[in-house]
């Protein structure tokens, strides 16, 4: 290293570490000129490891990505060149790879990827939920809603696979998906909400799910055997409602389901909700600018955080217990769900030009998330570098196209929006753990 050409000028002592065992090197301090940038540092690691093919690395000091030279880092943090720096390096991520996209007839309002079966469920404003396989075939149409489908979700249980679709007609439908025939049969219609269904959240255990509605209520619905009891009620309900509305063709097969519980507290429409990893807590955000924590057992609102803007979407990261929310003011806010005093906004990610409509944490990395916005872009973020996104990919054909939904399961990111195209991206290059 000392032989290298540009080693004049001040140097700083550096120790390299990594968590990727295949790139591990001996933990010995090295003197490095302070004007070195990450490309030069990558070369050093490559030289030490003596790799066949050149591997690009990213460098982290104190949990922050190194941008620019070491000198700039030292200057920004008021450190002298005599400090020893501990630099963690990870393999640089590859940009997400674009996969074939699926054309829809109408705006795609929601997307959900089935983690086990590699199936994609989309909800669309043409009132139909669709199930796609990975080769681009639409294998099932879930027809029955009387208004556009706003939110969809997979619910996998041991016995069966269900699809949940929430719609602007204020109902949630539960469809049983038969893998062999590829048919979706509606089995339940969940009635009770007075407003449009905005979001569905499912617990890890898949025992019950929660729905957020514009009527400012959250309802919890069970999937267990307790259903039978509720089915009995459906006759009275049916009469009432059916009299008001046209009788549906398939309504004879559908049973009406009532909710287990209603969580009241929001002053205005609820836009999004998510369960935490052990399903005891539900987080919800809404038009009343509040982020509410609900205890499921007690069915009570345990804590409320106020934020200045409408919360459009929320996701919970099971790796680090962080909540990410997308707002109607271009920002993504990262909250620490454990801190209950003071300002719990940990980070504010800003790069979108318009409202953030949807976001999802990476299923693998505790640092990464993907967000879709009305500015027709989908951005990948690493919260260790909050100033700019890692990658920005197209989410629509034109600038006016809105990205309405994103999902990220395994290495697959699906986005849909007002350009009626379901776009898929492979993120195998993004996750560093993947290459271990």
């Amino acid at each position: 290293m000392e032989d290298s050409k540009s080693n004049e000028g001040p140097k700083v002592q550096v120790r390299f570490t990594t968590q990727q065992s295949k790139y591990a090197i001996a933990d010995t301090p090295i003197m490095i000129p302070i004007q070195f940038k990450k490309s030069s540092l990558s070369q050093i690691i490559n030289q030490i490891l003596d790799l066949d093919t050149f591997v690009k690395f990213e460098f982290l000091i104190d949990g922050k990505f190194l941008k620019g030279s070491l000198k700039k880092y030292l200057a920004d943090n008021n450190l002298s060149a005599e400090n020893q720096l501990l630099i963690e390096y990870i393999e640089a991520m590859q940009p997400p790879q674009s996969l074939p996209s699926y054309q829809h007839d109408d705006w795609i309002s929601s997307v959900s990827i089935c983690s086990k079966k590699n199936l994609i469920l989309t909800g669309s404003y043409d009132k139909v939920g669709r199930i796609w396989d990975m080769s681009g075939n639409c294998i099932a149409n879930l027809v029955g809603h009387t208004a556009g489908v706003k939110t969809v979700s997979w619910l996998e249980r041991k016995d069966n696979t269900y699809c949940l679709t929430g719609s602007n007609d204020n109902t949630v439908r539960i469809w049983q998906f038969d893998e062999n025939t590829g048919n979706g049969t509606p089995i339940f219609e969940c009635k009770g909400h007075e407003g449009t269904i905005e979001d569905i959240a499912i617990t890890k255990s898949n025992d019950y799910f929660a729905t957020a509605s514009y009527d400012s209520n959250i309802k919890i619905w069970g999937m267990n055997a307790g259903l039978d009891k509720e089915e009995e009620n459906n006759d009275d309900n049916d009469d009432e409602i059916e009299s008001k509305q046209k009788k549906r063709k398939i309504s004879s097969d559908i049973k009406i389901k009532n909710s287990m519980a209603t969580l009241k507290g929001h002053n205005n429409g609820v836009n999004c909700l998510v369960f935490d990893k052990n399903s005891y807590t539900l987080y919800s955000g809404g038009n009343d600018h509040s982020l509410r924590f609900w205890n499921i057992e007690a069915r009570s609102n345990t804590f409320t955080l106020n934020c200045e803007k409408v919360i459009n979407c929320i996701d919970f990261s099971s790796h680090n217990s962080l909540l990410a929310t997308g707002h109607s003011d271009k920002f993504i806010r990262i909250w620490d769900s454990r801190i209950k005093e003071g300002s719990s906004v940990k980070l504010r990610l800003s790069s979108h030009n318009k409202w953030v409509s949807s976001l999802k944490w990476s299923p693998k990395s505790p640092y990464m998330l993907v967000s879709g916005s009305y500015d027709s872009s989908v951005k990948f973020w690493d919260i260790r570098s909050s100033t700019s996104p890692l990658y920005t990919i197209k989410g629509g054909n034109e600038l006016d196209d809105k990205v309405l939904c994103v999902d990220w399961v395994h290495n697959l990111v699906a986005t849909g929006g007002s350009d009626t195209i379901l776009r898929l991206h492979s993120t195998s290059g993004i996750d560093p753990q993947n290459s271990q």
Binding site: W107, S109, G269, E308, K330, D400, S418
Partner: protein, 638 residues
């Protein structure tokens, strides 16, 4: 006359000695006769000629006859110099001096012996005389110090003490040789001196031999000649001469001198006092807009789909749906947060106004297209609300016919589409507004003279005409948000009527030429109007019938003004394509005036055919604003 004469000294004039005898001199003699200044002829017939001091008659002196007189004359040698004093009747013999005087007067000479041609005597010569002219002792004043000098010295002493005069101060020594005309500053030191404007220095292109780049090309010369002399940037053309000898006589000399004289003559010779006031200090102190957040700032969603000007928009009371009516004759329902168009109705005529029923129990839109108003259930609300709405508007068989408006039940196909009631008017309707409870609504059809304003009740299917007489061209009407008042805006005035007592409460004098729009603060005590002459007026109804504030921020006519129902915001939209957002805080304290702060100007729509933003409305819950424009777009700003 025989005085000894001193050489060079004129002899003193000697007057004759006064001989102290009777009638030698009459100067101190008292007049005996006391008759005063009356003519003596008056006494001609009397023996006396007057009275003496004691009042006794003075008898006329005896006069002899002419012969006696003559004889006496002959005898008297002094007769020729004897005159008669008429008053006393006595004879006076003139003396020698008196005769001399008479002779001098007759000769036109000085009477009293003055000699105008006396030889000049230089009394105060430098010749020192042996004896002084005057032996008077020196006066006292010569030995005591002068009072006036003392005062003057004290003045100087005081000036020195105060530092006005510095004694012993050395004069600034001028160098022996210096440029005489060098120092122009000296002139400026004089107070109120305004120097004459200086002649501009000659430029490079004024040279007889300017560098090539200063020489104009042929086209430039042509262009210069085409211009009027006043419009020319320079009043000469640069020219090149081979040598100074070749330069001709300067033909513009007189013209140039004349212009210089004009310059000097027209130069202002009065120093104008400029106000040295910091302009910042004149601006009233308003809070920083940053502290007044939230308010709409940036474009969030564009609702695209209309093919014509979007005339009117309305947000449903829950803030989830947006209705828009356009000149392409369609009514559209949009989902607010996604910008998705959910439903389209086609009308027969272009839509001028849409208004969502403010009651949350119903989901009902009133649509104005031409001379018909349609009440439409947009079929987007929850079942219960839709059911309520349909019950509310259940077709009634017996409909009372009104002469002003005809209530028509919809046809089955219309009913399927959600149209629940059709009301036909005589004249075109321009504006519709709901009462807060959602049962009453009022319409404006300005052409319909005295039935311009009609109030309708849905439950009874009834139309009422509240005004017998038309008070002008009605522009807008609105119900008070809590009291039974109706606000009617005509071209120049806003009248407030009490609907219960059926009387006029107030007449607001707007001072604008043509009111375009009006909105009432949700508190009910404040009102804003917008006008086609660019003004926005805020009225405090408790304060006065004149505007509390008039704002002129728009370049073109204001199309609409609106208040936010929850936040202290109001906005105006105009044909210049902008919407202006204001912070308008109304305090509960009656003494405190509303605070109005302009916070944001948003360029919202493109100007198409001189029309910009046609309507704006705030979201009922969020600090967002919807605008619709002549470019066929609807936009949401958050």
């Amino acid at each position: 006359m025989t005085n000894p004469t001193i050489p060079g000294v004129l002899p003193r004039e000697v007057h004759p000695e006064i001989i102290p005898i009777y009638d030698s001199d009459t100067s101190d003699e008292e007049t005996e006769n006391t008759i005063g200044n009356v003519p003596l002829e008056w006494y001609d017939d009397f023996p006396h000629i007057g009275y003496d001091i004691n009042g006794k008659k003075i008898m006329r002196p005896a006069k002899g006859d002419e012969l006696d007189k003559f004889l006496a004359k002959m005898e008297d040698p002094d007769d020729w110099k004897t005159v008669e004093d008429e008053k006393s009747g006595k004879k006076i013999v003139l003396s020698k001096e008196e005769l001399e005087m008479i002779r001098k007067i007759q000769g036109g000479d000085y009477a009293d012996g003055y000699d105008p041609y006396e030889p000049y005597v230089d009394w105060y010569t430098s010749d020192v005389m042996v004896t002084p002219l005057s032996a008077a002792p020196e006066p006292k004043s010569r030995f005591i110090p002068s009072k006036w000098e003392g005062r003057r010295i004290m003045k100087i002493v005081r000036a020195i003490r105060k530092g006005w005069i510095v004694p012993g101060k050395k004069k600034e020594e001028k160098p022996r040789f210096y440029a005489l005309w060098d120092n122009d500053d000296e002139a400026e030191e004089r107070p109120n001196h305004i120097p004459a404007p200086k002649l501009p220095l000659p430029e490079n292109d004024m040279s007889y031999n300017p560098p090539a780049e200063y020489l104009p090309t042929e086209e430039e010369i042509e262009e210069w000649k085409k211009l009027d002399p006043e419009d020319r940037p320079k009043n000469y053309l640069p020219k090149k001469y081979s040598s100074l000898r070749a330069v001709p006589a300067y033909d513009r000399f007189i013209e140039e001198r004349f212009e210089r004289c004009l310059d000097l003559y027209l130069c202002p010779r009065v120093r104008k006092n400029k106000f040295q006031i910091d302009p910042e200090s004149l601006i009233p102190k308003l809070p920083d807009p940053k502290d007044l957040q939230p308010f709409p700032t940036s474009l969030a969603i564009t609702y695209k789909g209309h093919n014509g000007r979007v005339r009117s928009i309305s947000v449903d009371p829950t803030g989830q749906w947006l209705a828009s009516g356009s000149e392409d004759k369609t009514l559209r329902i949009w989902e607010v947060v996604t910008g998705r168009c959910l439903r389209i109705w086609k009308m027969e005529e272009s839509i001028t106004n849409v208004s969502w029923n403010p009651n949350k129990m119903f989901s009902l839109i009133a649509v104005v297209a031409g001379d018909t108003v349609k009440l439409i259930n947009p079929l987007v609300a929850s079942n219960e609300v839709q059911h309520n709405t349909d019950e509310f508007l259940k077709p009634q068989s017996e409909i009372e016919k009104s002469k002003h408006a005809e209530w028509i039940n919809p046809s089955t196909s219309e009913a399927k589409n959600g149209i629940r009631q059709v009301i036909k008017f005589e004249k075109n309707v321009t504006y519709i507004t709901w009462h807060r409870r959602g049962d009453y609504f009022a319409t404006v059809s300005p052409d319909a003279a005295n039935s311009a304003v009609l109030v309708h009740q849905i439950t009874k299917r009834q139309t009422q005409n509240p005004f017998k007489k038309s008070k002008g061209l009605v522009q807008r009407i609105q119900f008070h948000p809590s009291k039974p008042f109706l606000f009617v805006a005509t071209q120049n005035f806003v009248r407030i009527y009490n609907l219960v007592k059926q009387e006029l409460i107030k007449k607001l004098q707007t001072g604008v030429k043509w009111i375009s729009s009006m909105d009432i603060h949700p508190g009910g005590d404040n009102l804003i109007i917008g006008s086609y002459d660019k003004r926005l007026c805020w009225f405090d109804l408790d304060l006065s019938v004149k505007p509390y504030k008039t704002l002129r921020y728009h370049k073109f006519a204001i199309r609409n003004v609106c208040y936010h129902k929850k936040y202290p915001l109001f906005a105006s939209c105009s044909d210049d394509g902008n919407i202006n957002i204001f912070h308008g805080m109304v305090y509960n304290d009656m003494l405190q005036n509303p605070l109005i702060v302009p916070v944001k100007i948003i360029k919202a729509h493109e100007i198409t055919e001189n029309l910009g933003v046609l309507n704006c409305e705030f979201h009922p819950i969020q600090p967002w604003i919807f605008t619709c424009g002549a470019d066929g777009n609807i936009k949401l700003f958050s």
